[in-house]
């Protein structure tokens, strides 16, 4: 059943790359985080501290972050949706290709479950691809978080669990980053009137 | 022997004017004129020596010293050129390259004098002379090289004795050298087709140009220097590039003969062809250089020896 959830996470990431509306994107992210959380709790099994980590993961990634982002889009209304960088099909194909590369290029990493390994690496790469493929600042932020989710997926499936210090630390850092990023997004939106990063090209040589 | 050579060198100082004189009279004969006698140059020198010199306005010590320096250089040159394969004992050595240096000094002195007068014609002539000398000097050195090869050095006496005998004429190298040096003689003595010594049109002068402003004893010195230049190059040509025996006495006789021959040749050449365009001269001399280098190559390659 974990396998299915893992696949779901990848599917959701691919969905994020195509959807147009920001709200939907956030919803999909929340769903992905939910899947991650369930996997984490499942893998945590009896170990109490891992269970704690997993539940915290679920709470923060599936609830807090989406709420934060939702507030962000409430405060940065877009007059009209930002033009797309490429057609959805192209984006999807590109992301798929990247994911495929991950499958091809990653040797067994040692957690015994090739599916999870490949998917988590693929998630990180797809996260980057989202940043490449989406112009709206919010979606770039989503890409960042998708990559983080991929990391957490691999982290929770480390046999015997990763040290909770790292887990918490990563979570804390993510929260910090997302907050700062949200602040940036808001400033940029109020400065440009839109969240289109294509307009952020003042600095070039 | 070398004492005798020295005596002849000193004699050369006196005999030098004979050469241009003879060439001129021979030319006159060839052209069917009666012409002046062989001794005309001496008469000219006497006359000039009697006259007083002229200093154009604005000229300075350089202008005054130049004729003396030129003449001194030519005296040194005459003392360097060996006679019949024997170096003189005047202590100036007998090195080909030193000779070239001394000649360059005289050329420089004339140019300085021209600049001091500021006379446009003198400067024009100097500019042309120096321009031709650029190629002439390369040609001269390369021509000398062709005798330096058999002589293993630039000692003129050794070179002359190395060029003695008939054996050296078997290979093509020495012929190339002779050809190249013939051009050198034309250039340095200022004969047609390079230059016209008896022109009186300022625009065409080369060797005469710098002499324009001079008069009296200055002019006498410069005229003599011109004659000495004939002596130096004709004797060199006879010593190095005309067949001659090794011994001194015999060498002396052949030398006299070959000098005469060369003078005739010059006269003939001058009556035979017209003056060429000055900008063509470098090409001619360049061909000479090519011939000389080819000759050197053939010598080193041992072609025909």
């Amino acid at each position: 059943m974990n396998g299915i959830l893992v696949t779901c996470m990848l599917a959701l990431a691919l969905a994020i790359i195509v959807v147009r509306r920001r709200f939907v994107g956030i919803a999909l992210l929340a769903a992905q985080a939910l899947a991650l959380g369930i996997i984490a709790i499942d893998l945590a099994g009896g170990r109490s501290e891992d269970f704690l980590v997993a539940s915290l993961l679920l709470l923060s990634k599936a609830v807090v972050l989406p709420l934060l982002l939702y507030l962000l889009i409430r405060r940065t209304p877009e007059a009209r949706p930002v033009a797309a960088a490429a057609s959805p099909m192209v984006r999807l194909l590109g992301a798929g290709a990247v994911a495929l590369c991950a499958v091809l290029l990653i040797p067994p990493l040692g957690i015994g479950d090739a599916h999870t390994e490949h998917t988590s690496v693929a998630l990180v790469l797809v996260g980057i691809t989202i940043v490449i493929a989406r112009r709206p600042i919010l979606f770039q932020l989503l890409g960042l978080i998708v990559a983080e989710n991929g990391l957490s997926l691999l982290a929770v499936s480390v046999p015997g669990g990763l040290s909770y210090v790292v887990e918490f630390g990563a979570l804390f850092d993510l929260a910090l980053i997302v907050t700062v990023a949200a602040a940036f997004a808001q400033r940029i939106h109020s400065d440009l009137g839109t969240g289109d990063t294509e307009l952020l090209r003042g600095l070039r040589d | 022997m070398s004492a005798a050579a020295t005596v002849i060198q000193l004699a050369g100082i006196v005999l030098a004017p004979l050469l241009p004189g003879s060439i001129q009279s021979m030319k006159a004969r060839l052209q069917g004129r009666h012409g002046a006698s062989l001794l005309q140059p001496y008469r000219t020198l006497m006359r000039l020596w009697g006259k007083s010199a002229v200093d154009p306005e604005g000229t300075g010590p350089v202008y005054r010293i130049a004729p003396a320096l030129v003449a001194a250089c030519m005296l040194a040159a005459v003392a360097i050129v060996p006679i019949a394969g024997r170096a003189g004992a005047l202590g100036l050595g007998d090195d080909a390259l030193v000779l070239i240096g001394v000649l360059a000094l005289s050329r420089f002195a004339l140019a300085m004098a021209a600049w001091d007068t500021g006379n446009a014609f003198a400067l024009m002539a100097c500019a042309r002379d120096l321009m031709i000398a650029v190629f002439g000097e390369a040609l001269l050195v390369l021509a000398m090289l062709l005798v330096a090869l058999p002589a293993h050095g630039t000692d003129l006496a050794t070179m002359s004795s190395a060029a003695a005998g008939t054996q050296i004429w078997n290979g093509p190298a020495h012929w190339c050298g002779a050809l190249a040096f013939a051009l050198v003689i034309l250039v340095e003595t200022g004969r047609q087709p390079i230059d016209n010594p008896d022109t009186h049109l300022e625009l065409t002068m080369i060797h005469e140009g710098p002499l324009l402003e001079y008069g009296g004893r200055d002019l006498a010195l410069l005229t003599w220097a011109g004659a000495a230049r004939h002596w130096v190059f004709i004797v060199l040509g006879a010593e190095l590039y005309l067949p001659h025996p090794a011994g001194f006495a015999a060498g002396l006789l052949t030398l006299t003969a070959s000098v005469a021959v060369l003078c005739c040749a010059l006269a003939v050449a001058e009556s035979a062809q017209a003056k060429m365009r000055i900008l063509r001269v470098p090409a001619l001399l360049g061909v000479g250089c090519a011939i000389a280098i080819a000759g050197a190559g053939m010598w080193i390659g041992g072609v025909g020896v």
């Binding site: 990391l151 850092d173 980053i177 400033r187 040589d205 | -």
Partner: protein, 496 residues
């Protein structure tokens, strides 16, 4: 002495953190400045003391604790970060005086600035003594958040853009690096080590031989790719010129002189611990490739006449490349060069960025147009710029001259003749750009209608120039003693 280390190791980051708290509490601008000065001096003293202890041990083995690791390399880094941080804190008031609006109100902005500065500094000071790979990663990630705020401090659109790019790209990069770390953790877990200690430098080093080759290699390349983004190695350096040119001058100095090398230190340690399982060939090749790429990529940008701070940023790219190259060579001479280069680059580069503060007074458009003929208006500023650029372009007697020489010699020692030759040529090409900036910027054409600096304004930068320049000279002479010293031998044997 060494028994002081455990306390100092905690004290050194703790002091600036208290500074952060105090800054947030500060009411008046004057008070904030005063507090900042005091805290900065104390912090610098502590970090220098720790650095002194670390360096005094010379070739001795590294000092370990549950959380920390102090060796020669961390000593060098601590000293550098301490000095640069101190200078940055000390020049900050004059910067804040001249800086225009920021993205919060003036009163808030100052305390916010100091808070972020001290947080940033604390994180930087913690990196070189962190005894654990994951912990180091966490700290670096934390610096990103703090410094991103500082980069965008002025609140201008360009600053926001630079900050956003910096945040996004470095976070992406670091997540890639984290992927590598987790892969290492998996390897450790399979060897039976589960808790945080599994990722200690020491235990990683111990386990290196046991780690499976293929995954470890993947982990290594992912770590390097990720850290390269933060170090600013080509081809993932793109955030660097933007952030450096838009950040407040004192922060640019910290970014360039302290942040980049301390991330480099992490990369260096990763190389050292993973070399046994990955094999020396690959690790060296990766470092040399990054180094050469950075040096070559910097050249065309240096050839353009750039605004002052942007020029310095690209020269940072070049210098990070040189350091990477030296680490890649890994021979004792090269390592000596690397150590010297880190120190010399920090001093020269920070001086350059501090010169940007008075420069902004002389030439208000300094952020957008290349400087020219500054000597006419402000000789002191021109001197600072000249000294900094001359040192950065590796002209004697700058320490960078010696360090580059050592690194190149080390390259030949490593048998990398071709790489060394390319590096020499790349250095010469980059020099052309810096030279042009040096000549035109200092004694070039003087645009009309610029105000002359008053001699009172000149004093601080002049003093700073004198101090840093003498520091550089000291580095040069110290550098002459480095080759063959026990200190270098140990470092070349491995940073741990």
């Amino acid at each position: 002495m060494t028994d002081l280390v455990p306390t100092l190791v905690w004290l050194v980051p703790a002091l600036p953190l208290t500074g952060m708290v105090l800054a947030l509490l500060a009411r008046s601008a004057r008070g904030a400045d005063a507090m900042a000065r005091v805290v900065a001096v104390v912090t610098a003293a502590a970090s220098l003391a720790l650095a002194a202890i670390a360096l005094a041990r010379g070739g001795g083995p590294a000092l370990y604790g549950r959380w920390y690791l102090v060796d020669g390399a961390s000593g060098v880094l601590l000293a550098v970060i301490g000095v640069v941080g101190l200078c940055s804190a000390l020049v900050s008031p004059s910067f804040l005086r001249t800086s225009g609006r920021s993205w919060t109100t003036a009163a808030r902005s100052r305390s916010l600035y100091y808070a972020a500065l001290f947080l940033f500094w604390a994180a930087l000071l913690a990196v070189p003594v962190a005894g654990n790979l994951a912990a180091a990663w966490l700290i670096v990630e934390a610096t990103t958040a703090a410094s991103a705020l500082l980069v965008a401090f002025s609140g201008r659109r360009d600053a926001l853009e630079a900050g956003w790019k910096y945040l996004l790209l470095t976070t992406l990069g670091l997540s890639v690096a984290l992927l590598g770390i987790i892969i290492l953790a998996i390897g450790q877990a399979n060897l039976g080590a589960h808790d945080l200690q599994a990722l200690d430098w020491r235990s990683l080093q111990g386990a290196a031989h046991g780690l499976p080759k293929a995954p470890t290699l993947i982990a290594f390349v992912l770590l390097l790719a990720g850290l390269a983004t933060k170090v600013g190695w080509a081809p993932v350096h793109n955030w660097l010129p933007d952030a450096h040119s838009e950040a407040p001058a004192p922060i640019s100095a910290l970014l360039s002189a302290a942040l980049l090398p301390s991330v480099l230190l992490i990369a260096w340690r990763v190389k050292d611990i993973l070399q046994p399982s990955v094999g020396p060939g690959g690790t060296r090749a990766v470092f040399m490739a990054f180094g050469l790429a950075s040096m070559l990529v910097a050249v065309p940008f240096l050839w353009r006449s750039l605004p002052w701070k942007r020029l310095l940023a690209y020269s940072s790219l070049e210098h990070m490349g040189i350091i990477g190259l030296g680490i890649g060579f890994g021979t004792p001479l090269a390592i000596a060069g690397v150590v010297l280069h880190v120190a010399g680059h920090a001093l020269a580069k920070s001086l350059g960025f501090y010169a940007a503060i008075p420069l902004a007074r002389v030439e208000p458009k300094a952020s957008s147009r290349p400087p020219s003929g500054v000597a006419g208006e402000s000789p002191a500023t021109a001197t600072a710029m000249g000294v900094s650029l001359a040192a950065l372009s590796g002209l004697p007697p700058s320490p960078l001259f010696l360090s580059e020489l050592l690194i190149l010699l080390g390259g030949l020692q490593a048998g990398q003749v071709a790489v060394t030759a390319i590096a020499v040529v790349a250095l010469a090409l980059g020099f052309l750009g810096l030279l042009h900036a040096l000549i035109e910027g200092v004694v070039g054409e003087q645009p009309r209608r610029r105000r002359r600096a008053r001699s009172r304004e000149e004093r601080p930068i002049l003093a700073l120039t004198a101090i840093l320049a003498s520091g550089m000279l000291a580095c040069t002479f110290a550098g002459l003693l480095l080759p063959g010293s026990a200190f270098i031998q140990t470092l070349a044997g491995g940073t741990l």
